[in-house]
């Protein structure tokens, strides 16, 4: 289905925002200003955006340790996120959570998560809430569990898939297969040449597979998936084949990569380059349209970083805020 000009511009803007957010963090982290562990989403933007462009705020998502892209795609505020990562009390989580724990329930973003595999059961719960609410005019609200290929080996993920099938919950398990869990290769950790989607099928749900570096493939696949799930067809799974451009976390020496691997995936599997090439070749957008968005996005990121630098720092008293019982 052909996307409108506006939808194309929105999708590109969203992907580019994630890209530049992460590229900037990659630079800023080296200065030592940002504390903690940061896992960058660069390379996987087409998945977050291709999925979330179909969602409204009543649809919910649950994310992972590599969560910035999911948060941004689901509508979390760029500046609020940047401030959170900087540890400001003006951040989305008041500096309590940081990169691995960004959440914004008002946007249907139920949290990034530091525990691999913790998200999928939570997404099933959100889907059960939607099932209890019943369908609206556009069908059921859905819950999306974003998981990595590594997380697909966690018992919690299996239990969640089974529970979703048993209850026919409107839950979608989105597996982003970037071929690595930390420093271990996907082929080793799943122990078979079968893919993740076939595991989901074995639980009794419908599963799709698509190229996660092709925005249009992601978007079109998700249209089908959502029609199935919103229409009451029960849970579904999608496996997107994608790439992680940076290390597992910032500081990872990445010695597990093959020679020239990063150059190759950046050259051949960059979702932004592929998007630009596709829409300009088809005459849907001009290079100048995209260049203008690039400039806009760079300005947004620059402003967010300046705001984060200048934002108020938390104080010792803030430690005891937002606890229900304290000693």
């Amino acid at each position: 289905m052909q996307l409108s000009r506006e939808a194309l511009l929105n999708a590109y803007r969203a992907m580019k925002t994630i890209r530049e957010f992460e590229e900037r963090l990659h630079v800023e982290i080296q200065t030592g200003e940002i504390a903690g562990f940061t896992h960058l989403y660069c390379g996987q933007e087409a998945v977050a955006v291709g999925v979330c462009e179909h969602l409204g705020t009543r649809d919910r998502i649950v994310s992972t340790h590599r969560g910035h892209g999911h948060c941004l795609a689901k509508g979390c505020d760029v500046e609020g996120m940047m401030k959170e990562i900087w540890g400001s009390r003006e951040g989305l989580c008041k500096g309590k959570g940081g990169s691995m724990h960004i959440a914004d329930a008002d946007k249907g973003m139920l949290g990034a998560n530091g525990i691999v595999g913790a998200g999928a059961p939570i997404a099933v719960g959100a889907a059960l809430a939607s099932r209890a609410n019943g369908p609206g005019p556009d069908g059921l609200d859905v819950a999306i569990a974003f998981s990595g290929d590594g997380a697909c080996n966690q018992g919690t993920t299996f239990e969640a898939m089974n529970l979703a099938v048993v209850t026919q919950a409107p839950c979608i398990f989105v597996f982003e297969n970037n071929h690595y869990s930390e420093h271990t290769g996907f082929s080793y950790a799943v122990g078979t040449d079968r893919d993740i989607a076939s595991r989901a099928e074995a639980f009794g749900m419908k599963a799709w597979r698509a190229d996660g570096t092709d925005f249009f493939a992601v978007h079109e696949t998700m249209r089908e998936v959502l029609a199935h799930v919103r229409g009451g067809g029960g849970p579904a799974a999608v496996e997107f084949d994608t790439e992680r451009f940076f290390g597992h976390f910032e500081g990872d020496p990445q010695r597990y990569r093959g020679p020239g691997e990063i150059d190759r995936i950046r050259a051949e599997r960059d979702c932004l380059t592929r998007f630009r090439a596709a829409v300009t070749a088809a005459g849907l957008l001009e290079h100048s349209d995209i260049d203008a968005l690039d400039t806009q996005v760079m300005d947004t990121i620059e402003a967010a970083v300046s705001a984060a630098r200048a934002a108020a720092r938390p104080t010792a008293e803030d430690v005891l805020a937002d606890v229900y019982i304290s000693y």
């Binding site: 540890g87 595999g117 966690q154 420093h183 271990t184 005891l320």
Partner: protein, 337 residues
């Protein structure tokens, strides 16, 4: 003596014990650190560098890289141990006990007793714990409070490279399940380590780091450094502190604590876990019961508040015990009447 880092003491002890006893096996996530990649199986060699080279030397039969599956790791350690092996399993972060609590608590910890003393379960479960890296609520916790409360587990918290060597060797040769807690912030610290290939430190023997006679300070792991710094400051004013490193929270060396408190009459327990139902509360109850007549002041504790661990630098440092907070507590027990 050889000078080495805490993390190298972990690695070299495992290496030596694997060489000595073919039943010792290692398992955990990324302990090989590159399986199934172009960079080769040992491209990284474990994220803490505590398993580097083990796979190369001992091979896939004894060095098992696992998928992200903590329940299966600890459960498999239980099964290996029940089947005559001596597994040394790694949980990358202590926080992940949340994923595999059943295997630790209802399985490994209970076998010997529940099976009428007929089963041995010689498993070591190593894990990196502790705050100080702004790793936030799910990657910074100190879990000894939870695990020490579980009958059937021995819980070890080494503070120096020498103690890593002596205690880890004891743990691996022990016939019961041992939780071995390695503080992340200590991995890169160095110290002298005895060369004796059978150097062992028995469990349940605390270490008197410093003798002072006026106040007893008890702690573990990273915080001992802060306790000693506080003791140094106070010593300049003529206040003497006994600083005791518990080394193991189970078994507990009651005698060393009580002997000290009988002289000082004053106790400060410094702990990285939250304040309720923890080590500090436990030790304060111990002296209240068994050294009551020696006490000159109520025993105090210095712990974080009862909250999850916050992310931001300012918040985490306000959350954690500090040299100032310890010094203040010592002054308060001294000021008591």
């Amino acid at each position: 003596m050889t000078k080495m880092m805490y993390r190298d003491a972990v690695l070299s002890t495992i290496m030596e014990e694997m060489a000595r006893d073919p039943d010792v096996v290692v398992l955990g996530e990324d302990v090989v650190g590159g399986m199934g990649t172009a960079g080769g199986p040992e491209a990284i060699g474990g994220i803490w560098s505590t398993s580097t080279g083990l796979y190369d030397r001992f091979g896939p039969g004894r060095v098992i890289d696992t998928p992200i599956s903590e329940s299966a790791i600890v459960g498999a350690a239980a099964g290996l141990a029940l089947s005559g092996k001596r597994p040394v399993a790694e949980l990358m972060f202590a926080d992940f006990i949340g994923v595999c609590l059943d295997q630790l608590w209802n399985q490994i910890a209970k076998f010997r007793y529940m099976f009428g003393g007929k089963s041995r379960c010689p498993a070591v479960i190593r894990m990196a714990y502790g705050a100080g890296f702004n790793a936030a609520a799910q990657h910074s916790q100190s879990v000894h409070q939870i695990l020490t409360g579980m009958p059937g587990l021995k819980v070890v918290m080494p503070a120096t490279p020498a103690d890593v060597k002596g205690l880890l060797r004891t743990a691996i040769r022990d016939d019961d399940p041992v939780i071995f807690l390695e503080h992340k912030a200590l991995y890169a610290t160095s110290g002298d380590v005895p060369d004796d290939p059978d150097f062992m430190i028995p469990f349940g023997h605390a270490r008197l780091c410093r003798a002072g006679g006026d106040v007893t300070i008890v702690s573990t792991g990273l915080l001992l450094g802060m306790c000693e710094a506080a003791a140094d400051r106070l010593a300049a004013e003529g206040i003497g502190c006994d600083v005791i490193d518990l080394r193991t929270t189970s078994p507990l060396d009651e005698e060393t604590i009580l002997d000290s408190v009988e002289v000082t009459g004053r106790l400060v327990v410094v702990d990285e876990a939250p304040p309720r139902c923890g080590l500090a509360a436990d030790l304060r109850a111990l002296v209240a019961e068994k050294a009551f007549s020696s006490l000159k002041a109520p025993p105090l504790q210095v712990t974080p508040p009862h909250t999850p661990i916050p992310f931001a630098r300012e918040l985490e440092s306000a959350y954690l015990p500090s040299v100032d907070k310890i010094e203040d507590a010592v002054r308060r027990v001294l000021a008591w009447r």
